[in-house]
C-alpha cells in the first residue's frame, strides 16, 4: 500500500465528491431543488401548504408533512421496479421525521405540505443528499423553517474511516453512518448506523460527517442566493 491511502475513486479519506445544488429548477412546483453529489442526481419538489384531503386525517394544531422518496427505474445499473419498495417507504419516513423538526408546522393547522424526492441517478448516500435537496426546496417554497437541514455520511472501509460514502464503498465497506443536522441550531435530526464501529471510530466518523455537512451547507446558501440573482421581479411583497 502506498503511503497515502486512496479510495476506489482516487479520493482521500476526508475528501468529498464534487457537489452542486441548484434551487428553483421546476416551473410548476411551489419550490424545488436539484443536487448533484458525485454521480447522484436528485430532484426535490414541494407543494403547499394546501388544504388537506380527506378531511378526517387533518391535524387541528399543525400541518401534515407528506414525504415521498422514490427511485426512478433507470436510477440503478439494473432496472428497479417503479413500485415503492420496502426500503423507499422506510426512507420516506426517515426523511420526513428529519424535516419535520425543522419546518414550523404549527403555522398552518389543518393543512398539508407535500415533499416529492425523485432519485434520477443513485450513487450512494442518497438519503442524506435527498434531505439536503428537500430542505432547499422547502426554503424556496417560502415555508417557515427553524433552520435548513443538511446531511452527510461517513463510513469505514478496510479499517479506515471515510467521508461521503460512494456506492462501491457502501456495498463493500464495514460500516455506514448517515447523519443530518440543523447547522445553526447545532442539532442532529438523523443518525443511523449500519455495521460496526468502535467508540473512537464512531467519534471520528461523526466529526468527519459533520465537517462534510457544513461544506454542503455553504453550497445550500449559495444555491438559494443565486435564485435572487436570476429573478426578474420580486413577487412576495408582504410588508404586513
Amino acid at each position: 500500500m502506498s503511503e497515502e491511502f486512496r479510495r476506489v475513486d482516487g479520493r482521500k479519506p476526508d475528501e468529498m465528491r464534487s457537489y452542486k445544488i441548484k434551487a428553483h429548477v421546476l416551473k410548476n412546483a411551489d419550490g424545488s431543488a436539484e443536487i448533484r453529489l458525485g454521480k447522484n442526481w436528485i430532484v426535490a419538489a414541494v407543494y403547499g401548504p394546501k388544504e388537506h384531503f380527506p378531511k378526517f386525517e387533518v391535524l387541528h394544531d399543525r400541518a401534515i408533512l407528506n414525504c415521498r422518496y422514490h427511485m426512478t427505474p433507470y436510477s440503478t445499473s439494473e432496472r428497479k421496479s417503479p413500485k415503492p419498495s420496502r426500503r423507499e417507504i422506510e426512507l420516506s419516513k426517515v426523511i420526513r421525521s428529519a424535516l419535520e423538526q425543522a419546518v414550523i408546522l404549527e403555522e398552518y393547522p389543518e393543512m398539508s405540505i407535500d415533499v416529492f424526492i425523485e432519485v434520477l441517478q443513485a450513487d450512494g448516500s442518497t438519503r442524506v443528499a435527498s434531505i439536503t435537496a428537500a430542505a432547499v426546496a422547502l426554503a424556496d417554497a417560502g415555508i417557515p423553517m427553524k433552520d435548513l437541514v443538511v446531511g452527510c455520511s461517513a463510513g469505514k472501509i478496510n479499517g479506515r474511516i471515510i467521508v461521503d460514502v460512494g456506492e462501491y464503498e457502501d456495498k463493500e465497506g464495514e460500516a455506514d453512518l448517515p447523519i443530518a443536522i440543523m447547522p445553526n441550531l447545532r442539532r442532529v435530526v438523523l443518525l443511523q448506523m449500519d455495521g460496526k464501529l468502535t467508540h473512537e471510530e464512531f467519534k471520528k466518523a461523526f466529526d468527519m460527517a459533520l465537517k462534510g455537512a457544513y461544506k454542503l451547507y455553504e453550497e445550500q446558501i449559495n444555491a438559494l442566493k443565486s435564485v435572487i440573482k436570476n429573478m426578474e421581479v420580486l413577487e412576495g411583497e408582504d410588508r404586513e
Binding site: E51, I143, G236
Partner: protein, 186 residues
C-alpha cells in the same frame, strides 16, 4: 440595509432586535430568520423583519374570489374557489357563503351551479367565509333550472333563459355576464 437571509440565520440577540414577521426566537435568546428572504433592519426602533421571496398561495381576508357553488345545505352555499384577485388558483379551496340578509327562499339568491364573485370576510374556525353583500358582489353567471342554458339579465334585474323563457331571480352582481374574461384572468 437589505441582506439576503436563509432559514435559521442569526439576525441578532433578543436584546438587540425585536423580531417582527419572518423571525423567531430560539431557546438561546437569538433572533433568527424563519424564511428565505430579504432582511430589513430598523436600527432606530430596533426591529427586524424578513420578507420572503416566494409566498405560498393562500386565501386571506379581503381577497376577491370567484367560485362555483357545488352544494347548498339550508341557506349556506359551499363554493369551490377558482380565481383569487384575478389570478386562477391552481389548487382547491372551499368557501362558505351566506345570503346577505334573511331570505324566504334561497333559490332566489343563489343556486347550485352558479358562479359568484365574493369577498373573503373572515377565516375564523378555519373556514373561508364569503360575503356577497354590496352591489359589486353576487352571482356573475347563472344557469336555467329547466334546460341548463345561460340566463340573460333583463333590464328590471330578473334573469330570463333565452332558450325556454324560464324566469328566475338571483342576488346579481353588477358584473353579471360582463367582463367575464377580465374577472377570470384570461
Amino acid at each position: 440595509m437589505d441582506k439576503i437571509v436563509v432559514p435559521g440565520e442569526k439576525i441578532g440577540a433578543i436584546e438587540e432586535y425585536i423580531g417582527l414577521n419572518g423571525t423567531y426566537e430560539d431557546s438561546d435568546g437569538n433572533v433568527r430568520s424563519k424564511y428565505f428572504g430579504i432582511l430589513s433592519l430598523n436600527r432606530e426602533k430596533h426591529e427586524a423583519l424578513v420578507i420572503r421571496i416566494r409566498k405560498p398561495v393562500l386565501i386571506e381576508v379581503g381577497d376577491e374570489v370567484v367560485g362555483r357553488i357545488f352544494n347548498i345545505s339550508g341557506v349556506f352555499g359551499y363554493v369551490r374557489l377558482e380565481v383569487k384577485n384575478g389570478k386562477p388558483l391552481d389548487r382547491s379551496f372551499i368557501g362558505i357563503l351566506y345570503p346577505p340578509r334573511a331570505v324566504r327562499e334561497i333559490k332566489n339568491v343563489y343556486n347550485v351551479g352558479d358562479y359568484i364573485l365574493a369577498k373573503v370576510v373572515s377565516l375564523k374556525n378555519r373556514a373561508i367565509h364569503l360575503s356577497i353583500a354590496g352591489k359589486k358582489y353576487g352571482v356573475i353567471r347563472a344557469f336555467c333550472r329547466v334546460c341548463g342554458s345561460i340566463l340573460i339579465k333583463k333590464i328590471n334585474g330578473i334573469l330570463k333563459c333565452h332558450k325556454c323563457g324560464n324566469i328566475e331571480r338571483r342576488k346579481i352582481s353588477i358584473h353579471y355576464d360582463k367582463e367575464w374574461g377580465k374577472i377570470y384572468g384570461y
